[in-house]
């Protein structure tokens, strides 16, 4: 049974029924006071590290994709190689200057925003070092965008395994936070694809690590939110490129769709699966395959068991449902308009050849930015075990309905690797998940300008569900710090804090994300 913890605080004046049990945090951490900056800048330049202090350089990194957390670095370093980063971290340790690492900056809680100190822009290190087509691995610098990596791999007929469905997250950023794709129910998250890493530790040592070499460091750095080192290079597993055979099934019930999603995942019935909704009224379960054989096996065994409908069948069922409820006509109109905008985007002829979808990440990412992107993006999420997932989605959905007229849910499973349990500790993978973890993102459509308080209250209410259910989160950082401790418990956070203090004596690297 769920029990809401008692609230020690007076009700929030903006969202009186939110912030349950969670002390209201500052959205932005306080800005670092700049002590020693001038001496640091001199020392850094003496170490031959270029430091940019102009407004043009610093201003570009004032916020992240979320656009709600604002900071301003004192200076920017564009990553060029491990040696330069090593010099930066050594000098920063000496002078106690915080360094915030940024990949694509697609965080939404300010994790990649520097609230003073140095912003290390990893995209300066974005070259592929080598591709081994026989061993199916690639060695790459870690500031590379997944899409740029895909461009290089495709010239060799290869593709990465799994990566976020957006083009501008970087390999390094994703190895730190997870990296979930619609093939993660089968292949796991991006962080699980790393075979070996080059890491610059917070004290400036340049080291190689893997399951067999400095395994402790490897385990901490993977899914480590940049606490235990800067990932400069990675060897990743890759695969042969294949276009997709896509199928869409439409549901009017979230619960039924989630149940069907989990049936498919448990039975390895598809190569890709995920749920994308228009509110909770049109729930789309997408299922896709890498080969005709896998598609045929699905058609023979699983297709008829799914309770969703094709586009036409869904429309036929929706008409009487709305016809009898005139107060729901605005919602029906929105669904219809949204469908008219969205569907052609997923069927653009240049990506759909002979019934196969090519370059899925381009198709999805374009749609994500076109239809959900804006200068403010609020995407709180919940990550739970398979068993708790439906409850988390339904409760989160109710919160979305309360705060916004229009929103989208994105749900996907993550296959877990038994041997990676140490990697998962204190990450988006909830401690009680076995086999699969499930994530749901709750993304309001910004149909108008919402106040920061409105957005913050919404996020708090979603995150409260996590505390209440014993879940985890994909997004750490900023005001999430309080939640991490509550959701994951003092013991684990304190143990990691002790390790962090040892590895990073001046606590300079990626402050304010977890600790």
């Amino acid at each position: 049974m769920d029990t809401a913890p008692s609230n020690p605080l007076p009700p929030c004046p903006v969202g009186p029924d939110s912030l349950i049990a969670i002390k209201r945090q500052q959205t932005n951490p306080a800005r670092w006071n700049g002590a020693n900056w001038a001496a640091f800048a001199v020392a850094l330049r003496a170490a031959e590290v270029e430091l940019l202090e102009s407004l043009a350089a610093c201003g570009a990194f004032a916020t992240d994709a979320g656009g709600t957390a604002y900071g301003m670095p004192h200076g920017v370093v564009i990553a060029r190689d491990a040696r330069q980063i090593s010099n930066l971290l050594k000098t920063a340790q000496e002078h106690g200057v915080p360094v915030t690492v940024r990949g694509g900056g697609l965080t939404t809680e300010g994790e990649s925003v520097a609230f003073g100190g140095v912003l290390l822009d990893m995209t300066g290190m974005s070259r592929v070092k080598s591709i081994d087509a026989a061993a199916l691995t690639v060695r790459t610098e870690c500031g590379i965008f997944w899409h740029s990596l895909a461009e290089e791999l495709r010239r060799e007929g290869l593709d990465y395994l799994s990566a976020p469905l957006n083009l501008t997250s970087t390999v390094g950023g994703s190895l730190n936070v997870g990296g979930i794709d619609v093939n993660s129910p089968r292949l796991g998250c991006s962080a699980d694809q790393a075979v070996a890493l080059q890491v610059v530790t917070p004290t400036g040592d340049i080291v190689e690590c893997s399951e067999t070499e400095r395994a402790d460091l490897f385990q901490r750095v993977i899914l480590g939110y940049g606490q235990f080192g800067v990932i400069t290079e990675a060897t990743l597993k890759v695969r042969r490129y294949t276009p997709l055979r896509m199928h869409y099934f439409y549901y009017s019930s979230l619960r039924t769709a989630v149940e069907d999603l989990q049936i498919l995942d448990r039975n390895d019935a598809s190569d890709y699966s995920g749920i994308l909704t228009i509110m909770d009224s049109a729930v789309n379960l997408l299922v896709a395959f890498d080969s005709d054989e896998r598609e045929a096996a699905f058609n023979a065994k699983w297709r008829a068991r799914l309770r969703g409908h094709g586009e036409f069948g869904f429309a036929l069922r929706a008409i009487p449902r709305y016809a009898l409820r005139p107060w729901k006509w605005p919602e029906a109109l929105y669904l219809w308009q949204r469908k008219r905008q969205l569907f052609p985007e997923f069927r653009r002829p240049e990506y759909l050849r002979d019934g196969l979808m090519h370059d899925r990440t381009v198709v999805f990412s374009r749609a994500v930015w076109k239809f959900w992107g804006s200068r403010q993006m609020v995407i709180p999420d919940l990550a739970t075990s398979a068993e708790k997932f439906i409850k988390a989605v339904e409760r989160g959905n109710a919160v979305c309905r309360k705060y916004f007229p229009y929103y989208t849910l994105y749900c996907v499973g993550i296959k877990l690797r038994g041997d990676h349990k140490p990697h998962y500790e204190m990450s988006c993978i909830p401690p009680d998940a076995t086999g699969w973890a499930y994530g749901c993102e709750f993304e309001p459509v910004m149909d108008r300008v919402y106040s920061r308080d409105h957005l913050q209250s919404f996020k708090n209410e979603i995150y409260d569900i996590g505390v209440n259910l014993g879940a985890s989160y994909y997004r750490f950082g900023g005001m999430m710090k309080g939640y991490i401790r509550r959701a994951l418990g003092d013991e684990v956070v304190d143990r990691h804090l002790a390790m962090k203090r040892k590895a990073d004596p001046a606590m300079i690297l990626n402050r304010d994300v977890i600790f």
Partner: protein
């Protein structure tokens, strides 16, 4: 594409970084400041235009960033405007003065139903190629080659010089008689389309590529190099045109996974003006990397020249395809 006036400006930039993925200037420096993202964010923070000089001059004006920008920002227009706001170079002042003095040059117009061809200076330097283009494009009704090719206007746009309205009018006056105008310069094309919205304005590549005899010469093993400026200026429509070309002929296009054209060269303004040394090799290497090709077919004469300098593969202008001895029909003739 939506008219520039209706499109967003830098204030709308969300910082999504999608423009970086396609930007050859970023590929060269891996420095966010040299991208639309970097410039837009700097301007949002009130940075003075003159402080962005290096960034503004690093842009190749390939136009690749515009179709991928989800905020629909007029990125090329914005860049041209920023160049106009920079303190003028000597060249900028001279060109404006010269344009004011420019005398009208009448075209010998065959008839309104003939297309007009506005060919850049390079084509006049290769009379055989120009003659071939005229024959191909004018086969049905003849073609009018514009006496005034607007080269000074194209240069003025590129360097940020103000083009006097009278000069624009003198350039456009003879073109107004034509329903179809074909241009070899992608930057000028973009402007002519805005200035003459009633006319059908096409790039040379699109116009030639629509001709069946030329399409028949394309084959698997060809790398077809689309002229980026013309293509990105009308991406939404042309992406279908070129996808059809690929499907029909089996040729490989210089498109990336987002169907954005990878330029053969990525020259900054200073390189174009000869102030900095040109180094086309890294960009060309990226264009060719991992591709098995036997021949390169280009839409733009300047690409033919640049690629030919560095590459041992045969490089053929699209208009010359039928004359290429390695073409099936070329061999017969």
């Amino acid at each position: 594409m939506m008219p520039a006036a209706q499109r967003a400006d830098f204030a709308a930039c969300s910082g999504c970084s999608l423009c970086l993925l396609v930007c050859p200037a970023w590929r060269r420096t891996r420095d966010l400041r040299d991208t639309p993202h970097g410039r837009a964010k700097a301007l949002q923070h009130g940075v003075a235009v003159v402080e962005l000089k290096e960034s503004i001059e690093s842009c190749t004006l390939c136009g690749a960033c515009e179709p991928v920008c989800p905020e629909n920002i007029d990125l090329v227009g914005m860049l041209l405007e920023l160049r106009r706001q920079l303190p003028p170079m000597i060249l900028t002042r001279n060109i404006t003065t010269n344009m004011q003095a420019e005398r009208p040059r009448e075209n010998v117009t065959l008839s309104a139903s003939t297309p007009a061809l506005v060919a850049g200076g390079m084509y006049f330097g290769r009379p055989a190629l120009l003659a071939r283009i005229k024959t191909l494009l004018g086969s049905a009704r003849g073609i009018t080659v514009a006496n005034d090719n607007g080269a000074d206007i194209a240069l003025a746009l590129e360097i940020g010089a103000t083009v006097p309205p009278q000069r624009i009018e003198r350039f456009l006056a003879p073109l107004r008689a034509h329903k179809t105008i074909v241009l070899t310069d992608g930057l000028l094309l973009r402007q002519v389309r805005a200035w003459l919205p009633e006319a059908r304005v096409a790039g040379l590549g699109e116009a030639l590529g629509a001709l069946a005899p030329l399409r028949r010469q394309l084959r698997a093993g060809d790398l077809y190099v689309i002229d980026p400026r013309a293509y990105h200026a009308d991406h939404e429509r042309l992406v279908t045109h070129y996808d059809g070309l690929r499907a029909e002929t089996g040729c490989t296009l210089n498109l990336d996974l987002q169907r954005i054209a990878i330029p053969a060269t990525a020259r900054s303004l200073r390189q174009r003006l000869g102030a900095d040394a040109i180094d086309d090799a890294p960009q060309l290497r990226w264009l060719l990397q991992g591709r098995t090709i036997a021949r390169i077919v280009v839409e733009s004469e300047s690409d033919r020249f640049a690629i030919g300098q560095l590459c041992t593969l045969p490089v053929v202008h699209l208009a010359e395809l039928a004359d290429d001895p390695s073409s099936p029909e070329g061999k017969q003739s």
